[in-house]
């Protein structure tokens, strides 16, 4: 009895030691900055950027706390419009990435073991050169095709940059599948398509959700690609946030937008986790 208690205490200690650093990391680099943003989003902008003081220096000066930033956001359809557009681009990017990445991930997972590491290396090789340089290269490719400065160009750029983030989790998932399952399905008379649709695909759902989240979320905040490849209407939330901080030096408004984006992303992540659990249960 006491021996068992001893092991649980030891395992609890190990668990703490293992989960401690990531927990601390999240606290310092996600929760704290998040809270600072929340606080900033309830303030007035300072004259030179930054935040207005909490107590007014002169009578009539805007100072202290306010919900004005949120009122502006909810009082105008244009912000909902830009959010909807960003989510549309992110969803489309994730979908195209999925369709393109699945065969690649499957091919790597089914290739001889000694070649897999090399193929994975090829997938991440583009990261060796700077991402902006690669986007500028796309300008040269898309220019003569008359696609530059368009929504299509933005989606192409987004897919190109984020494709590895879809391939890698999918591959990690597919690699773990037991080939015996497919043999069993074949023995039971399943054709190639049925083997894929009823065995491989359901088992790979967690990988699909992980990859989709890894693509969807960064795309939402991306501002460089729309700025470089985008046309006249291709502003996404990321551009609006960047313009608020750097262009108009309106930190509270930018903070408010970031918070709304974080909330929206958490909602999507929660939804996809729920979907994954449901999907996982069915498989």
């Amino acid at each position: 009895m006491s021996d068992e208690a001893h092991t649980t205490a030891a395992s609890r200690l190990t668990r703490r030691l293992v989960s401690g650093p990531p927990f601390l990391f999240l606290l310092v680099f996600f929760v704290l900055p998040g809270l600072i943003m929340v606080a900033a989003s309830f303030r007035y902008p300072g004259e030179f950027g930054g935040l207005a003081p909490l107590s007014a220096g002169r009578p009539g000066e805007e100072a202290g706390l306010t919900i004005e930033n949120y009122r502006v956001f909810f009082g105008d359809w244009i912000y909902a419009e830009i959010f909807a557009k960003s989510f549309g681009v992110a969803a489309l990017t994730a979908l195209i990435c999925l369709v393109m990445a699945y065969p690649v991930a499957l091919a790597i997972a089914r290739s001889p073991r000694q070649r897999r590491d090399f193929l994975t290396l090829l997938v991440i090789l583009p990261f060796a050169s700077n991402f902006l340089v690669r986007i500028y290269a796309w300008m040269i490719i898309l220019g003569p095709l008359d696609l530059l400065f368009s929504r299509t160009a933005v989606v192409i750029g987004m897919v190109y940059v984020h494709l590895p983030f879809m391939i890698l989790p999918l591959y990690t998932n597919l690699e773990k599948h037991d080939p015996v399952l497919l043999d069993a399905a074949q023995d039971l008379g399943a054709g190639a398509w049925q083997r894929f649709w009823r065995v491989t695909f359901p088992l790979s759902l967690p990988g699909i959700f992980a990859g989709s989240a890894l693509v969807f979320i960064p795309v939402l905040g991306m501002f460089a690609i729309p700025e470089i490849l985008g046309g006249k209407d291709d502003w996404l939330v990321g551009n609006l946030i960047k313009e608020s901080f750097l262009g108009t030096r309106d930190w509270p408004f930018g903070s408010m937008l970031s918070i709304m984006l974080t909330l929206a992303v958490l909602a999507v992540a929660g939804f996809s986790a729920w979907l994954a659990r449901r999907g996982g249960g069915r498989a």
Binding site: F48, A52, M139, G231, S244, L246
Partner: protein, 353 residues
Amino acid sequence: MQRLLVLVALIAAPAMALADDVLYLYNWNNYISDAAVRRFEARCRCRVKQDYYSSNEEMLAKLAAGAAGYDILVPTGNAVETLIRENALRPIDKSRLPNLASIRPEFLDTPFDPGNRYSVPYAYSVTLIGYNEQKMKELGLPTGTWAVIFEPKYLERLKGKVTVLDDPRELIGAALRYLGHSINETDEARLKQARDLILRAKPYWAAFNASSYIKELTIGNIWLAHGYSSDMFQAAQDAEKARRPFTIGYATPREGAVIAVDSMVLHKSGRRPDLAHLFIDFMLEGGNSAELTNLTGSGNPNLAALPHIRPDIKDNPAVFPDTEARKRLEMMRDLDRKSRRLVNRLWTEIKVR
């Protein structure tokens, strides 16, 4: 290549200099010649370390976030004003700047810095229209007016061949000038008028563009661009060097435009005001000052520089406007936070609808 030379100079120079003798310069991209930096290093027996920015906002944001140690910044007028009001600058000691006398009086004592307590004019650019001269002639389009960028009757012939600056103040400012208002207008109704003008013209434009219009003009992908005079100078030179079958011209619209005067200022966080004064006076010398204009096509407020400037630049009215034209050029002022928010709101509409 030029960057590489700077790098080599930076690595090679310290062998002779003491560790402390470093001047930290925070400047625009490509806004000083490498030769000038090397000559100054030889004279002051010190090293020059440079960081670069591509917009005033970027520079202000980095300073606001705590970047420090810069002896000299080269902000545009409105950013000079912001820095002065933030109490971030060190007053200049004019007794250490004998060459200050050669600056044209109309560039001194501006509303940004009355009496030039903090700033010394360095160079300027005008926001104007650059165009493919042959195409414009072929299509019978005017070039000396903002109408060609805003009026559908002209734009119909230019659809998809026009870019405008991806900068709210510049683009809304151009629209305001075309409507007969000031660039610094803050009246909501007038700003909305400018937005409507922009939204009406937007379907004809190819893109909002901040920098690649130089290349696009040179290649011939676009025929008309709203941009900075020094960029148009570069586009014209590149087109000539590449032996394109067309030439790039540029002209200041008669309705008036933005003139951006960049000034050298001393940041409070700098540790070597002695070297900084030496540098400012060095850059005011005619030859050094003219070198920048010959290299970048920037406007030059320095009388001593004129004899050293290439005649084709000196005679270009877009770079050196006459007295009449100069009256229609306006400097951009910093807006208060309410107006900034309004501009941001209108810009969002322009970029989304």
